[in-house]
């Protein structure tokens, strides 16, 4: 426990230092810990670099009550660069206040730095480190206008995606505040925060950034709650059954008990569970399938996996990239994948499930990002010595940004395709 406590505190202190240089973004505490840490260490120095026009910073700051109040008062009235998104934040902070007694809520308040340099801040879930640099080079000419819109979208989307669990979290905190003694509440909150802090990460399927991944994460939370109850029920029954008794049940009632338990617990319980799971699971599964295109034309990208890198080809634009996948936000992406050598598996957990890439076959997967950001993808099927290093990054930005990137690529296509050919 003490261990967890120290860990949390360490995270907070990092976030505090960093808080002055960041954009307003609000998220519950559990979302933030993991990311802040790295943003704090790795993003911060880069933010000062003049040569990087586009820079993505995501800093949410989990704050224990007193810190939080402080931040609210001090910064919540600071004008933000984007009015709409700011209003939304303010509302949420108020809601959080109401819900959690004002004292034990956790929320983030971060502030945009009135920057003297040409720096642009985005909101997204980003903790990409090294691989991005080459991207950013290719993306120099992004203008403020586009980026502002991106920020707006980012807010709407990320809030939408987190809320399904945030609600639960708030409810839980509310429950703690109402019911339990303050110290216990503190302890419990730290525990939950620690537990939930883990949800996030650039490759976490519990931090969905697209409709398919969102559907799965919802399934997971539902199943987790239901099955935890079942597990506790059965464990309790086992414990109760082991209690010493003076007399055994007479045969007749033993048989009746056996029939009740076997039919009720052994047949009906699994059967009902299966039906319920399928009721939720089948629609979720259908949602993930590529068949649904809502009017908009999907962008086709051909993926060829190699030992040990990824080759992405945009047939519409005749662009080839390696280990980096640029996609426009909101637009459905049709991934058609195969392998050049052994079996690999294409997987961007924050967007969708995985699909194996098998030599001789072409498999199909639908990706759709609802929010901006850079998402980590990794080969999920063991493919030999450097399987662990077969990583790629998906960069989702707005349509205009994507178009600009395409133009940029067309101007200098020889470089990347030369690299790709070399490795063929």
């Amino acid at each position: 426990m003490a261990f967890a406590f120290c860990y949390i505190l360490r995270r907070f202190s990092v976030a505090d230092v960093n808080a002055n240089a960041v954009f307003i973004h609000q998220k519950p505490a559990h979302e933030a810990c993991e990311r802040n840490h790295h943003d704090g260490h790795e993003r911060h120095p880069k933010a000062k670099g003049i040569d990087i026009d586009t820079h993505i910073v995501n800093a949410q700051k989990p704050i224990i009550s007193r810190h939080r109040k402080h931040h609210d008062r001090e910064y919540s009235m600071t004008p933000a660069s984007d009015e709409t998104s700011y209003t939304r934040h303010a509302n949420q902070i108020n809601q959080a206040n109401k819900a959690c007694d004002g004292a034990k809520s956790s929320a983030d308040a971060c502030q945009p730095e009135p920057s003297s340099r040409k720096k642009i801040f985005l909101c997204g879930n980003e903790s990409n480190v090294s691989c991005n640099e080459s991207y950013q080079g290719g993306n120099r000419k992004m203008n403020h206008h586009g980026m502002n819109r991106m920020a707006e979208n980012g807010h709407a989307a990320s809030n939408g995606f987190m809320c399904h669990f945030c609600k639960l979290c708030h409810l839980w905190h509310f429950f703690i505040c109402m019911v339990v003694d303050k110290r216990v509440a503190m302890l419990m909150m730290i525990c939950t925060s620690f537990f939930l802090a883990g949800c996030d990460g650039p490759q976490s399927m519990l931090a969905p950034a697209g409709p398919a991944a969102l559907a799965v994460s919802r399934l997971w939370w539902g199943m987790l709650i239901f099955f935890t109850l079942v597990l506790f029920g059965i464990s309790f029954l086992g414990w109760y059954a082991m209690q010493p008794r003076k007399e055994p049940l007479p045969d007749k009632s033993a048989n009746r008990l056996a029939n009740y338990l076997i039919i009720g617990g052994g047949i009906l319980l699994p059967l009902v569970s299966i039906v319920v799971i399928l009721l939720f699971g089948i629609p979720a599964g259908i949602k993930m399938l590529p068949s649904q295109t809502k009017g908009e034309k999907a962008l086709r990208i051909d993926v060829t996996a190699h030992q040990w890198y990824w080759e992405f080809y945009y047939p519409e634009y005749d662009i080839t990239t390696r280990d980096q996948l640029w996609i426009p936000v909101k637009r459905p992406i049709d991934i058609y994948g195969t392998s050049h050598d052994v079996i690999h598996s294409f997987w961007v957990p924050r967007l969708n499930g995985k699909i194996d890439l098998i030599p001789g076959y072409q498999n199909h997967l639908r990706l759709q990002a609802s929010t901006h950001g850079t998402f980590r993808g990794q080969c999920a099927e063991f493919c030999g010595k450097w399987h662990a290093r077969m990583i790629f990054w998906v960069k989702a930005g707005p349509e205009e940004e994507f178009e600009r990137w395409v133009q940029g690529q067309k101007n200098k296509p020889q470089l990347l395709s030369a690299v790709a050919q070399e490795n063929d």
Partner: protein
């Protein structure tokens, strides 16, 4: 009076020990007794378990912190491949089979398993196969492509070293052991139960073992076939799994998981059998819902063969198939739930006492339930698309495997320790060991679910910092060391027990089943006399049974004739039908396995001439093996039995050999079915499968060869009908004629094969045709050799008016060979014609 009684007991023991006793020294290699073999299996698998555990410790140390370089990626790949392989093939299945070998005959009131030499063969195959596999670690050539060996990563292009060959040959070797033992267990349970132990009186453990063994018989052959095909691809370039030449890498996945998923239940079922044995004893009442449980076990066996595709949800198979396999996988929760609630109901209805084995059983209940629940989650296709091949699956799998196999196994070992050693385990050390293991296990693997959900894939040798995986991995690593400490304490407990344990006395847990009616530790013959057992709880109903057995008051209490005897009974009702006489200690199993090991090693070295030499020696040994049977001087030269006793099995028309042959042919048929599946699969699914424009095989010659085979098949059947009527005037001549016609058929088949000019290394089509023909050829050759041997045995007088049993055993082989020949003909010749090849 008492003195006379004791003397009588000692004399009886001496008399039986003359016949059944185990030699010492180098001759201990000749022992075939099931008690010794069971203990050997258990101890060997224990050693392999520790080795597998050490490998995992290295892995957990490597993963404890991000970006560590404790081991190189290649070493890490060897580690996880060997960890999986050792735990699945060298620990789980053999440990379960070993325990079953030890317990089952005692539970059903038999003196030994029905094919004792096969027990020894099974053990040595296991030992040598395991040693060959592990030796690869010494040469730094351990398999490094995952225990699932997916092609094309395992093909020569991407794995040029010998690593994969070690796996394919070593594992096949070990699987031979598993299948042989399983066949033996099935026949033993069906045919050697003591008098009047009908199926419904059989202890539940035997039901579980029966279903497990049948599952091995059907489940292991697909992998044996797959391994042979992959080895052929690697060694001879036959492209079964290469998409470029018409093969299909997915075919390997199908063959592998056709074995792989039933394997989970093969491991789980006997463990559930242990639970079903222990719970009633400590609840002090019979189990409730016996019929429910039996039904559930059989259902599990069937369903488990229909769910293998849930390991392949991400390969892009049709959605309808995914839905089907998803629901099938979930349905398995029902039979499992039935067993779980039957156990709980038994505890609720009885007066449970808390003893050491129960601690492990309760740990099992919790962990296994958790593992089963995540299993249902994984069966949900959309969820599986996300968590497949992540650490979530690693956690789930360890919950299922350790929860459902290791915990009941250790519980079972504690339960039967007094039986193995005659001493009681220490309560303090045992409890400490349990809690360390239980806590360590949960710390390791509960957190690992989370690691997986955060997106960490399996089989990565390291990971970058800052992905949220650092802490969960560290916690898992700490937990794994706690668990290792727990296992160490348990081993310490066993050592302390062997040295200082207090004597257990007879039936220390007041159990109900027959195995506690033997001495503890048991004598090689188990029982001086074989009691009737028309009940599920013999020791509860007749508390003095142990004594009356020892005093020889029941059946078959004589050993002065020098034969090892046990009852052969009706498979359903358990009524006594004959006396089965069992072969004694022999060098044959050891040398046969030694030759097999040499074959394996020479194949690894790719010196094929030497392999052929060893195969020839092996054949000679096996022929000698089957020669020492029936009325042979070393088996049962005279058939005299006591008045009122049934005849010896070799003097009837129905013995265990008939059953052994039938079950072996089931396993053989499973290989054949898998091969046919491969043929049709490649034909319909493989992306580049090409069919030659003209038929390769000469149809008229094939038909001619087939007609000859049909003639032998029908002729042999006719001969057997005459034998059953004891009309054996021209038996030897008839057998020679059948052998000659069979030989002609074989030669014709070889001619067809030769003239076909198959391009084995170029197209998968030709490669599969060749394998189908070779399969057929092998069966024909074996049939001819067996028939010739029978004819010789008639000449030597081992088959005659009194002993006519053996030709009937071979009948099934001839019929099977004829049957598969015509199916092969249909698949190779008629199918392409009708389907427009």
């Amino acid at each position: 009076m008492e003195q006379a009684n004791t003397d009588m007991l000692i004399n009886k023991h001496k008399e039986f020990n003359e016949v059944w006793g185990n030699p010492r020294g180098i001759k201990a290699l000749t022992i075939v007794n099931h008690t010794t073999m069971g203990i050997r299996f258990l101890c060997t698998s224990g050693v392999f378990f520790l080795i597998g555990g050490l490998l995992s410790m290295v892995m957990r140390t490597q993963l404890a912190l991000p970006a560590q370089n404790l081991v190189s990626p290649d070493t890490y790949n060897q580690l996880f491949t060997m960890h999986g392989t050792v735990m699945m093939f060298l620990f789980s299945v053999p440990a379960m089979e070993g325990l079953a070998m030890y317990i089952v005959p005692k539970m059903i009131g038999a003196r030994d398993l029905v094919f004792p030499r096969a027990s020894a063969l099974g053990y040595f195959c296991y030992l040598f196969g395991g040693l060959i596999l592990l030796s690869s670690l010494m040469f730094s050539m351990a398999p490094n492509t995952g225990w699932f060996m997916y092609t094309p990563l395992t093909s020569t292009a991407y794995s040029p070293g010998r690593n994969a060959d070690f796996w394919l040959l070593g594992v096949t070797f070990v699987e031979i052991s598993a299948v042989v033992t399983a066949i033996e267990l099935v026949v033993s349970i069906m045919r050697t139960r003591t008098a009047n132990m009908a199926l419904q009186h059989m202890p539940l453990y035997c039901w579980f073992v029966l279903v497990m063994s049948l599952m091995i018989v059907f489940g292991f052959p697909p992998l044996i076939l797959g391994s042979i095909l992959l080895e052929l691809e690697r060694a001879a370039g036959m492209p079964f799994f290469s998409p470029g030449q018409g093969g299909d890498p997915v075919l390997w996945q199908h063959l592998f998981w056709l074995f792989g998923h039933p394997d989970v239940y093969i491991i789980f079922l006997p463990a559930a059998g242990i639970v079903s044995t222990i719970i009633p004893v400590f609840a002090q009442r019979p189990i409730v819902g016996y019929r429910w449980i039996v039904l559930a076990v059989i259902t599990t066996g069937f369903i488990s063969f229909g769910v293998w595709v849930h390991h392949m949800f991400t390969i892009g198979i049709p959605k309808l198939a995914q839905a089907f396999f998803s629901v099938a996988s979930m349905l398995i929760a029902i039979p499992t739930g039935i067993q779980l609630f039957a156990w709980l109901a038994t505890l609720l209805a009885g007066r449970p006492v808390f003893r050491l084995p129960m601690l492990w059983i309760l740990g099992f209940l919790i962990i296994f339930t958790a593992g089963g629940l995540t299993g249902v989650m994984l069966a949900l296709v959309p969820f599986d698309w996300q968590v497949h091949d992540t650490h979530f699956v690693v956690a789930h799998m360890h919950y299922v495997m350790i929860g459902s196999m290791l915990f009941p196994l250790i519980g079972g070992i504690y339960y039967w320790l007094p039986h193995f050693t005659g001493r009681m385990p220490s309560k303090m050390l045992g409890t400490l060991g349990f809690w360390l293991t239980f806590i360590g296990f949960n710390v390791t693997f509960l957190v690992m679910h989370w690691t997986g959900l955060l997106g960490m894939p399996r089989r990565v040798y390291t990971y970058a910092a800052g992905l949220g995986w650092d802490w969960p991995n560290l916690i898992s690593s700490v937990g794994s060391f706690i668990m290792a400490a727990g296992i160490a304490v348990i081993i310490l407990d066993f050592i302390v027990l062997a040295r200082f344990g207090r004597p257990a006395g007879s039936n220390p847990w007041q159990a109900d089943t027959l195995e506690w009616a033997t001495q503890t530790p048991p004598n090689p013959y188990n029982f001086i006399s074989l009691p009737e057992c028309p009940t599920r709880h013999p020791l509860w109903e007749h508390p003095n049974l142990q004594q009356t057995i020892a005093e020889g008051k029941h059946a078959l209490a004589v050993a002065s004739h020098g034969r090892r005897e046990t009852w052969g009974s009706d498979p359903i009702s358990g009524k006594v039908r004959e006396i089965i006489h069992l072969p004694g200690n022999s060098w044959l199993p050891f040398f046969a396995t030694l030759m097999l090991a040499f074959v394996c090693i020479t194949l690894l070295l790719r010196v094929y001439v030497e392999s052929l030499v060893f195969v020839a020696i092996l054949m000679l040994i096996l022929l000698r093996w089957s020669w020492e049977n029936g009325a042979h001087p070393k088996a049962a030269p005279d058939a005299k039995t006591l008045p009122g006793e049934p005849p010896l099995h070799s003097r009837t028309f129905d013995g265990p050999g008939l059953w052994g042959m039938a079950i072996s042919l089931l396993a053989d048929g499973a290989i054949y079915m898998a091969l046919l599946f491969g043929w049709f699969y490649l034909w319909t699914v493989a992306p580049n499968f090409t069919v030659p424009s003209h038929p390769l095989l000469s149809t008229p010659w094939l038909i001619a060869s087939g007609v000859l085979l049909l003639i032998t098949g029908i002729g042999y059947r006719h001969l057997c009908q005459k034998i059953r009527k004891k009309q054996i005037q021209s038996l030897q001549i008839s057998l020679w004629i059948i052998a000659i016609i069979g030989g002609m058929h074989t030669i014709l088949l070889i001619v067809v094969f030769k003239t076909a000019e198959l391009e084995l290394a170029n197209t998968a089509h030709d490669a599969v045709v060749a394998v189908l023909l070779i399969y057929q050829l092998l069966h024909s050759v074996v049939a001819v050799i067996m028939t010739m041997m029978l004819a010789l045995r008639v000449a030597y007088g081992y088959i005659g008016q009194q002993a006519l049993y053996e030709p009937i055993v071979v009948e099934q082989w001839w019929l099977y060979t004829t049957f598969t020949y015509w199916i092969t003909f249909t698949a190779l010749v008629l199918f392409p014609k009708t389907w427009g090849g």
